[in-house]
């Protein structure tokens, strides 16, 4: 039997300002009908490039410089637009990472679903619409008859991702490319999407390439796993085999990330709180988003706030920072009640309370060099000038483990994602704060890079006695760095306490749901969990 997809010695080059760099360096990949292959690796490994190449597509600025891509006997490398149009969308379909960005905001969901089959002349519009509804139902979307009439901005992220998977099935493709389809979703939503994707792929007997950087996720989805590093294959093996016995050091290091544990500290009696949020409620317009939230952060400790998106985690941070005045309650910092608005707070107070954002990319001015980015808070809060300021900037760069001589004159665009986040940490440190609010600071980073950031934050806490209010939706992160955990849902705190206690049963039902939703390495985990939940639902009914 011929293979559905056979990629041999594929090389892809990217053209950038500095010249050409090879991003895929001779990779082989093969896939049988009905098989699911997991592609895994950190960012820059070339997994997305390889996934798109399997459709014969390369991003603008890239080109295929060698090798072949044979899909069911057709050569896609260097194929003309006509041939590619016959294959793309119709026989090979793509599911993008961010469905919010990949749906056209100007058209209804069902119009975008029908476009493929109608344009490829596979079926009339009416039939496409009928099939859309049945796929929406299969994907367990609410109100499948009418959800297609909505615009992309009118449905939630998890629903949109399922609608996109449905859309990719519209032409009954033989091969599906999933490019990190659940990375942007929180754990509870991720489960639903994973289950729906797995079921629909199996039922329609399609082959798939599943790209992700999350090993536990790929373990649930793939029959085989291929590990990539910097454009080369590290190893490939059937899923169970690889999980049981990874051959290469690099693969093992991917495993190890999940196990980062800071050294236990000498436990003194619980210190007095540096920050107390007391009975805070807040709303956007008339829409209430926080209800009677009380959280306290002991000095020198890390309090993690977890919950799915929309649970009010970031809003809590905005209230503390004085960006959103609360409708009730108050924020007490080191014994002083803080003014609801940041601009009314004295500068010394602003200095002692800093924040690091999720998107280091957008939190840094792209036209300022590292020297200006770090120099500004030094001038503004501490009044440093000239020689003293320069010395302090270099100290800060040393602290975040970036070599001052190499980095001080760079622009943010010349830094990697992890380096940018380090720079944001240094900027917060420049003010010599006592409390730092970290808003999903590792969520946009790869596991290896994220681990580096967590180690850095941990070290800084030990050296300077910093306190962190750490907002995240990732329970693995919480498990590794938190001293205390606060679980939020729908704008209210449902449970809080020391970490050890929170990870021990019995749990609040919502905490239980969150915890059980974190994917585990066991390839049977998803099947088992879905079975359990079904049983519970039956029991409840």
């Amino acid at each position: 039997m011929t293979r559905l997809l056979d990629i041999r010695g594929l090389r892809i080059e990217a053209q950038s300002r500095e010249g050409r760099t090879e991003i895929v360096k001779g990779v082989d990949l093969s896939l049988n009908r009905g098989e699911i292959l997991g592609l895994i690796g950190e960012s820059g490994a070339g997994k997305s490039t390889l996934g798109l190449a399997a459709m014969g597509h390369v991003k603008p600025g890239c080109r295929i410089t060698g090798g072949s891509i044979r899909f069911d006997g057709l050569e896609l490398a260097g194929a003309d637009a006509r041939l590619l149009r016959q294959v793309q969308g119709r026989r090979i379909a793509y599911v993008a990472q961010s469905s919010a960005a990949a749906f056209n905001p100007a058209w209804r969901l069902i119009a975008q679903y029908c476009e493929g089959p109608v344009q490829h002349r596979l079926m009339p519009r009416a039939q496409a619409e009928a099939e859309a509804v049945s796929l929406y139902r299969e994907m367990r979307l609410p109100d499948p008859e009418r959800i297609g009439a909505r615009y992309p901005h009118q449905v939630s992220g998890g629903q949109l991702q399922r609608a996109m998977t449905a859309m990719s099935m519209s032409c009954h493709p033989e091969l599906l490319i999933f490019d990190e389809p659940t990375t942007a979703l929180d754990v509870t939503t991720q489960i639903e999407v994973l289950a729906a994707i797995r079921e629909v792929v199996r039922r329609h007997d399609a082959a798939a390439i599943y790209i992700t950087h999350d090993l536990a996720v790929v373990a649930q989805m793939a029959d085989r796993i291929k590990v990539l590093l910097k454009g080369r294959e590290v190893e490939e093996a059937p899923t169970r085999e690889m999980l049981a016995a990874p051959r290469e050091d690099y693969t093992r290091s991917l495993w190890a990330v999940r196990n980062f544990q800071p050294a236990p500290r000498d436990e003194p009696a619980a210190p007095e709180p540096i920050l107390s949020i007391v009975g805070v409620s807040a709303s956007y317009g008339t829409h209430p988003v926080l209800r009677d939230v009380s959280i306290s952060v002991p000095r020198g400790r890390t309090v993690a706030v977890v919950g799915e998106s929309g649970s009010g985690k970031s809003t809590t941070a905005r209230v503390v920072m004085g960006l959103l005045p609360p409708t009730a309650g108050q924020v007490v910092f080191d014994g002083q009640v803080l003014d609801p608005l940041s601009r009314n707070r004295p500068r010394t107070l602003q200095r002692r309370l800093q924040m690091i954002h999720q998107m280091a990319d957008t939190a840094l001015n792209p036209r300022h060099r590292v020297r200006e980015i770090l120099g500004r808070p030094l001038e503004f809060f501490l009044g440093l000038r000239g020689r003293k300021k320069e010395d302090r900037i270099r100290d800060l760069l040393d602290q975040i483990e970036l070599e001052p001589d190499r980095f001080i004159d760079r622009l943010p665009g010349e830094l990697s994602g992890g380096q940018k986040q380090r720079l944001c940490i240094a900027r917060a440190l420049a003010a010599e704060p006592e409390l730092i609010i970290c808003d999903e600071v590792t969520s946009a980073l790869d596991q290896l890079v994220a681990e580096g950031i967590l180690r850095l934050l941990d070290r800084l806490q030990r050296e300077m006695g910093l306190s962190y209010l750490f907002i995240t939706h990732d329970l693995a992160t919480v498990r590794s760095i938190a001293d205390e955990v606060v679980v939020m849902q729908n704008g209210a705190v449902v449970e809080q306490g020391p970490k050890a206690q929170m990870f021990q049963p019995p749990h609040h039902p919502y905490t239980e749901k969150l915890l059980s939703s974190v994917p585990e390495m066991d390839p049977d985990w998803l099947t088992r969990l879905l079975g359990q939940r079904q049983m519970q639902e039956k029991g409840a009914a």
Binding site: L52, Q86, Q88, G89, A93, A102, A106, Q119, H153
Partner: protein
Amino acid sequence: MILKLVLRRFAIGALTLLVVSALIFWAVELLPGDIASEVLGQSATPETLAAFRERNGLTDPAMLRYLHWLGGALTGDFGLSLANQRPIAELIGQRVANTFFLAGYAAVIAVPLAIGLGLLAALYRGSALDRFISTSTLAVISFPEFFVAYILILLFSAWLGWFPSLATVSPGMGLGARLYATFLPALTMVLIVMAHMMRMTRAAIVNLLALPYIEMAQLKGLRRWRVIAVHALPNAVAPIFTVVALNLAYLIVGVVLVEVVFVYPGLGQLLVDSVAKRDMTVVQAACLIFAATYIVLNLLADVLGIVSNPRLLHPR
């Protein structure tokens, strides 16, 4: 929510127009010299001057005259021309119609052509066609408009003899004859306004081409023109409308020189004549019409921009 936004735009438009009308009125008011002696000449006796002021309401306080003028303007009555004492509305009516006709003529050609060429340039970005479209349209707007007009006259009327060099129109003329007579001024204006709209269309589309949903459309195996026309264009509508409105306004307001070159009896020419004759009431009326056109067109672009945004049109 969308109704509120649109109503707000209308309110802002009305307010702007009010401010502009006040500026126009007071600017003329501040001009040195006495209107009565300007009109009646140096030999006028104090009695005739007083009688003239009385008749034209010039003795009233300025505020009262402003309100009176504004109220009249709203009902289409702009008062009397100082130069020949005829009602301005009568004087201006045909001129306004002529100017709008010419602008409409040019717009009907220029807008689809510019957007079409912009789409083509975006579709074949970086190709010879793209560069040809971009440089040629840019070259044309680099010349002053009267120069373009004279070149066209030289080419089409003096050498080839295809079109008349004077755009003479009369009220009883048929549409065909009218279109023929005004072809050269219309063509001049098409050339002048096209580059801006075409470049904006191209830039707005190219801006979108890097977005994930455009890549997604490509990966669905759609034809390239469909990706651009169906997926990119609807999302570029707001910036394109803005530029189209600006240029439509320019077609009406900025054509003074073109009208003069082709001796076309439009509002622009009337304005030039009236300034020469110091016929201030006519100048006031013409300015107010220009300002109103400008504001209304920009208002329309704003409203279309709001209405074309699915997030506003279909709230959650």
